[in-house]
């Protein structure tokens, strides 16, 4: 790493410092030390169907947008329609880039190019978009995650790419 490079921003530490300076108690980030389940890739990516999930608050023109109070709903996005009709809404990040080009948080176009180049087998026609910043990790673990698992299993994806914001 060249000398002018700085280490990654520690968002947990900065959140704690910033809101602590305003007198708020620190958010209790979910921590897990136990290693996750690990599924090995059964075939090369060039033969895999990839499912995309993103928590950047992306929705499609005509769909209902997200609200900002622990919204655990999600939107099914048709990846065959490109990104022109995609929109972004979120309370916790600068939306300027995502509104110019939704691929920066929901990379449908580059994934389709990897498919066209033969490097990736297929992009599942159904992608899932929701809004991160859900305060309650319990709601994520008990309600949202199991429903998304059921969806990607039904879609018969071979691998899943998750893009948080």
């Amino acid at each position: 790493m060249p000398a002018y490079r700085k280490p990654p921003v520690d968002y947990i530490e900065r959140t704690r410092a910033l809101y602590g300076s305003m007198g708020f108690a620190a958010y209790d980030w979910r921590r897990i030390a136990e290693p996750p389940a690990f599924a090995t890739l059964k075939k090369p990516l060039s033969e895999c169907r990839l499912g995309l999930l993103g928590s950047g608050g992306v929705y499609e023109h005509g769909q209902t947008a997200f609200h900002f109070r622990d919204d655990i709903s999600f939107r099914v996005i048709d990846t065959t329609r490109g990104t022109a009709a995609l929109r972004a809404t979120h309370f916790a990040y600068d939306l300027e880039g995502a509104r110019k080009d939704p691929n920066v948080v929901f990379p449908i176009d580059p994934l389709q190019r990897l498919v066209a180049a033969g490097e990736l087998g297929e992009l599942s026609s159904r992608a899932y978009a929701f809004m991160g910043g859900i305060y309650s990790s319990r709601k994520v673990e008990e309600t949202l995650a199991p429903e998304l698992v059921a969806r990607v299993v039904k879609d018969e994806v071979d691998v899943a790419l998750l893009v948080p914001v």
């Binding site: 690990f38 599924a39 709903s73 698992v149 899943a160 998750l162 893009v163």
Partner: protein, 135 residues
């Protein structure tokens, strides 16, 4: 997002998280992690930079080949010529500390990107591709 990745992985599907908030993602030990050292909201690249986005995704997807959990693939792309953007993230300006308080009101109604989006959604009435879960 790491919590969701862990559950998908437990269902037998290899997952890869592509993220920029390394400390947050790492704290829940996701199965595979590719780190992009860009400001939040640009994890998959810079806007209107299709070639950079393609390079980034191509590198990141190599993370699927990891043989076990715990490793981090560092995507070799830089946001700008120096890393000064990192100094400002969530850091209060001593001259004007209140300006760092960028909390957004947590509205319980849909927050559309534009009024036109809102009209389109309201005219349509239902949203069969929206999935609302019990809170």
């Amino acid at each position: 997002m790491g919590l969701i990745a862990r559950q998908i992985e437990a269902a037998g599907i290899p997952t890869l998280c592509l993220g920029s908030a390394l400390s947050i993602l790492g704290s829940v030990f996701p199965p595979r992690l590719a780190f992009v050292d860009f400001p939040l909201g640009h994890t998959a690249g810079k806007p209107n930079d299709p070639e950079g986005q393609l390079r980034l995704l191509r590198q990141a997807l190599r993370g699927f080949e990891f043989a076990g959990p715990g490793r981090v693939l560092r995507v070799d792309e830089v946001w700008s010529e120096d890393d000064s953007w990192k100094d400002e993230v969530m850091r209060p300006d001593p001259e004007n500390p209140a300006a760092a308080d960028n909390r957004t009101e947590r509205h319980a109604t849909p927050q559309y990107q534009s009024e036109e989006d809102e009209r389109a959604a309201l005219e349509r009435g239902d949203c069969p591709t929206c999935v609302f879960l019990p809170a």
